[in-house]
């Protein structure tokens, strides 16, 4: 039986005796039938009830440690006593009110303590809160009890999503699941793959990955090169100023050179280099040549039209759904920035021209290649143009607080570091308490889903398996260590009560 113990602001303490199997993240309904209203609350913490004299009991058991005996409790009262001793208090956060059978955001209503019936919401009912039967949905995984969970496509479309958690908890796995689900439904996705983790999705030999055909892995400087003419002066200047820190007076000079070469139909890397070398002002010449060398070093640009391709070429292959994976793994930091800047500016132009309606952008560890000034641009202006970003990071403090505030969805995996938890807890879509307590205890492959995709009912989901090859290709010195470590059965003796202070019952 559960009862309301305490109501304080947004927090409700519920006492359960005998203790019910309620875990952190579970939902509880406080149903005041008399008022035809209720509150939906979520357990975020659990503890033992402060039973009077429990210290006495524990001290007694301690003092009878190592004492074997027989309890002739033929009335069977011990189970009742145990129930009292194990009574639990669940600290819950109010998520929504229910009035006349409809969800209501007005949580100012207070349930009557004595007439309110408290019950755990089964997973099927929780599903009813977060899922819409009318919408197309993406199967995400399952609740703890095994109930399958899907998220609506509309929860991702046009939205800013953050996937975060410490290393090895399943962030990239989830990102790949979202990616494949989107392209399966015709979505166009761009991935900045900083660790080469997504390249396996394009592995056509991988069993079960029917979508491999839709995944195009691009290696900038190798199978993805382009011409200066395709880049255009606007993109070049954008890269030169924001990535390569070109001074304004040098920018004027490059504008002059570029226009001249363009008019003569001689806009090649070779000619550009020669023109820069011919600049009389040595200060400007040096500045231009240094940037030029960076461009050449990126190997992204070529004068050979047979080697060159365009973003449009690749996007055309994705019109029925597809993903362009830009593998940035082996690129230096500067070159990575050039590549990303080039793609984003080009994309912006393509979206402005309605070449494609929108793209889903997956950016792994974006702080490694996106300048700080770019973030806000990406989540505000570019979002309205049709770039819907998903940031994936294991360093939550690398994402600006303002980004968290604008995030529509957060998929939060396990964190144990206090600083990381504090950074994530700044997200406004839920309270810090929920984040810090639940995220700390999430097992691998489990995430706390917050935001629009779950109708603002935070839920813990075990992310489903994928058929595709999802593992990144990590290099090992000792190949045998590459094997995934399986949990081994502990050699602890769980049957022994020696030294436990427990009395031996009959």
């Amino acid at each position: 039986m559960m009862q309301i113990l305490k109501l304080d602001g947004n927090t409700v303490d519920i006492i359960a005796c005998p203790p019910e199997d309620i875990r952190k993240g579970d939902y509880i309904l406080l149903n005041d039938a008399a008022a035809n209203a209720g509150l939906i609350v979520q357990a975020v913490n659990a503890g033992y009830a402060n039973i009077p004299g429990i210290l006495e009991d524990l001290l007694r058991e301690t003092s009878t440690e190592n004492l074997e005996g027989v309890d002739m409790d033929l009335l069977g009262t011990q189970s009742y006593v145990d129930a009292i001793k194990n009574a639990k208090v669940f600290s819950c956060k109010i998520r929504r009110a229910v009035v006349d059978g409809y969800l209501n955001d007005d949580q100012s209503w207070t349930p009557n303590r004595s007439t309110t019936f408290v019950r755990k919401l089964p997973e099927e009912e929780v599903l009813g809160l977060i899922e819409s039967r009318l919408e197309e949905a993406i199967p995400l995984g399952s609740f703890r009890g095994g109930t399958p969970v899907s998220i609506p496509l509309s929860g991702l479309d046009g939205k800013l999503t953050i996937v975060t958690g410490k290393k090895g908890t399943g962030k990239s796995h989830l990102s790949k699941l979202l990616l494949l689900s989107l392209l399966e439904r015709g979505g166009i996705c761009i991935v900045f793959d900083v660790n080469g983790e997504y390249v396996g999705l394009g592995d056509k030999s991988s069993n079960g990955n029917s979508l491999a055909e839709k995944v195009h892995v691009l290696y900038p400087g190798e199978n993805f090169r382009t011409t200066l003419a395709y880049m255009g002066l606007r993109v070049f200047l954008s890269i030169a100023s924001s990535v390569l820190d070109l001074p304004p007076n040098s920018a004027w000079e490059i504008r002059r050179i570029w226009s001249a070469l363009s008019e003569n139909n001689a806009l090649t890397l070779k000619k550009l280099g020669e023109a820069m070398n011919a600049v009389s002002n040595s200060y400007i010449r040096e500045a231009l040549l240094r940037r030029y060398e960076s461009l050449v070093a990126s190997n992204l640009f070529t004068d050979d039209l047979r080697e060159a391709s365009t973003i449009e070429d690749w996007l055309n292959k994705c019109m029925d759904g597809g993903a362009l994976i830009f593998n940035l793994r082996n690129l230096g930091a500067g070159i990575r920035q050039i590549v990303v800047e080039f793609i984003l500016v080009k994309l912006r132009h393509l979206l402005e021209d309605w070449f494609v309606p929108a793209v889903f952008l997956f950016a792994e560890e974006a702080h490694l290649y996106l300048k700080e000034t770019y973030w806000e641009d990406l989540v505000t202006r570019m979002r309205h143009l049709g770039i819907f970003p998903t940031f994936i990071t294991n360093q939550p403090d690398s994402i600006n607080e303002s980004i968290y505030r604008q995030a529509d969805n957060i998929f939060l995996f396990n964190f144990t570091n206090e600083n990381d938890l504090e950074a994530v807890s700044k997200a406004t879509m839920t309270d810090a308490h929920t984040v810090t307590i639940i995220a700390r205890e999430l097992p691998p492959r489990h995430c706390l889903v917050l935001g629009k995709v779950v109708n603002d009912f935070p839920v813990i989901v075990r992310v489903r398996e994928l058929q595709a090859k999802t593992m990144g290709e990590t290099r090992f010195f000792f190949p045998s260590t590459a094997k995934t470590r399986r949990p081994e059965k502990l050699s602890l003796n769980f049957n022994s009560t020696a030294g436990s202070g427990r009395l031996v019952p009959t």
């Binding site: 009878t64 005996g69 033929l74």
Partner: protein, 352 residues
């Protein structure tokens, strides 16, 4: 014999009488006008003795006795609440044995009773007859005293069962071997002492309730320097209380280990002093002492005591099993002063 082998030794009627009282199936016979004489062991325990230390006889002990089985017995009772007609109470008793340094216990109960003015006499008679073989038990005590009396019956029954089961053991009682001269318990206690003697058992009765003070107002009767020792205070006790009480045991003040307390120890009066010394030395060799008090008895007390969590659990049990609802929960916090002492106001008001 291990205590675990004594599970057949169970006060079944205790269980049945308790159940009956809760189910209100016990036949109700009101005999309130019967003999008013009360049977109470407790009176013999609660003495206040002022002693002239220098005049008393100090018996030095040596902790080199032979190790023998030591068995401590203690019981406890708690009033769980009031109903419109009476009291709901619980009793529990524990036997703790140490042999060769190994401690073990057997715990009986809790047994729960609903005592009313209507059923207390029959309940009392049944208990006295079934457990103590006393056919002329007299009038039952007042309702308020019944809980204590039921506990006392359970304790005597356990003490007797242990005496009849073991040979050559030291049996530690909580209390004294004195009782009011008019008490019906005298004959019972005499019988139990005899039964113990017949089986070569020795009963050592430790009393916490007797206040012992030296003549000059000092705090402790026996100086720690003399521990382990016994102080023979039998004459003082008899001179002070001989008119009212019958002392079936020889009364000593026991300082078995240096500590803040000296306890009264009663040993069967028919036991020669040399045997007393020998037996107490066996106790020193066989059992641990906690603040001068035998560990077996201490553990028996600890295991018998009802904790506040247990009290709430018992309320729940009664409610679920017999339909009693606790209307007003007890102030169980009152009972946590000191981890193992004081039952506190555990009363609730039951609606049935």
């Amino acid at each position: 014999m291990e205590l675990a082998g004594l599970t057949h030794m169970f006060p079944t009627e205790f269980l049945d009488l308790g159940r009956s009282s809760l189910e209100e199936t016990a036949s109700i016979i009101s005999r309130l006008d019967m003999d008013k004489a009360e049977w109470s062991d407790e009176v013999g325990d609660s003495l206040s003795l002022s002693l002239r230390a220098s005049e008393a006889r100090l018996i030095k002990l040596s902790p080199v006795g032979r190790s023998v089985p030591v068995i401590g017995i203690d019981t406890t009772n708690i009033e769980l609440g009031r109903t419109g007609r009476g009291i709901v109470c619980a009793v529990r008793g524990t036997v703790v044995k140490v042999e060769e340094g190994n401690y073990e216990y057997i715990r009986h109960g809790p047994f729960i009773f609903h005592i009313t003015n209507g059923n207390k006499q029959i309940l009392y008679e049944n208990l006295m007859e079934s457990f103590l073989g006393m056919h002329e038990s007299g009038a039952s005590p007042p309702l308020e005293k019944m809980t204590e009396r039921i506990r006392s019956v359970l304790e005597r029954w356990l003490q007797r069962q242990i005496s009849l089961t073991y040979r050559g053991a030291l049996i530690i009682w909580d209390g004294s071997l004195a009782a009011p001269r008019t008490s019906r318990s005298l004959s019972l206690m005499s019988r139990m002492l005899r039964e113990a003697r017949d089986r070569n058992n020795t009963i050592l009765a430790f009393s916490k309730k007797t206040t012992l003070a030296v003549w000059n107002g000092g705090h402790d009767l026996v100086d720690n320097r003399f521990a382990p020792s016994l102080l023979d205070i039998d004459e003082d006790a008899r001179l002070s209380y001989g008119g009212q009480l019958c002392f079936l045991g020889h009364v000593y003040a026991a300082k078995l280990t240096p500590s803040n307390f000296t306890f009264r120890l009663d040993v069967d009066r028919s036991t020669p002093t040399s045997k007393v010394v020998e037996d107490v030395q066996k106790l020193l060799a066989s059992d641990s002492l906690r603040e001068n008090y035998p560990e077996t008895l201490c553990l028996a007390h600890v295991l018998s005591k009802f904790s506040p969590a247990e009290i709430i659990g018992l309320h729940r049990f009664i409610g679920k099993t017999y339909g009693f609802q606790v209307h007003q929960y007890p102030d169980v916090r009152g009972s946590i002063f000191g981890p193992f002492e004081g039952n506190g106001p555990a009363r609730g008001v039951f609606l049935h």
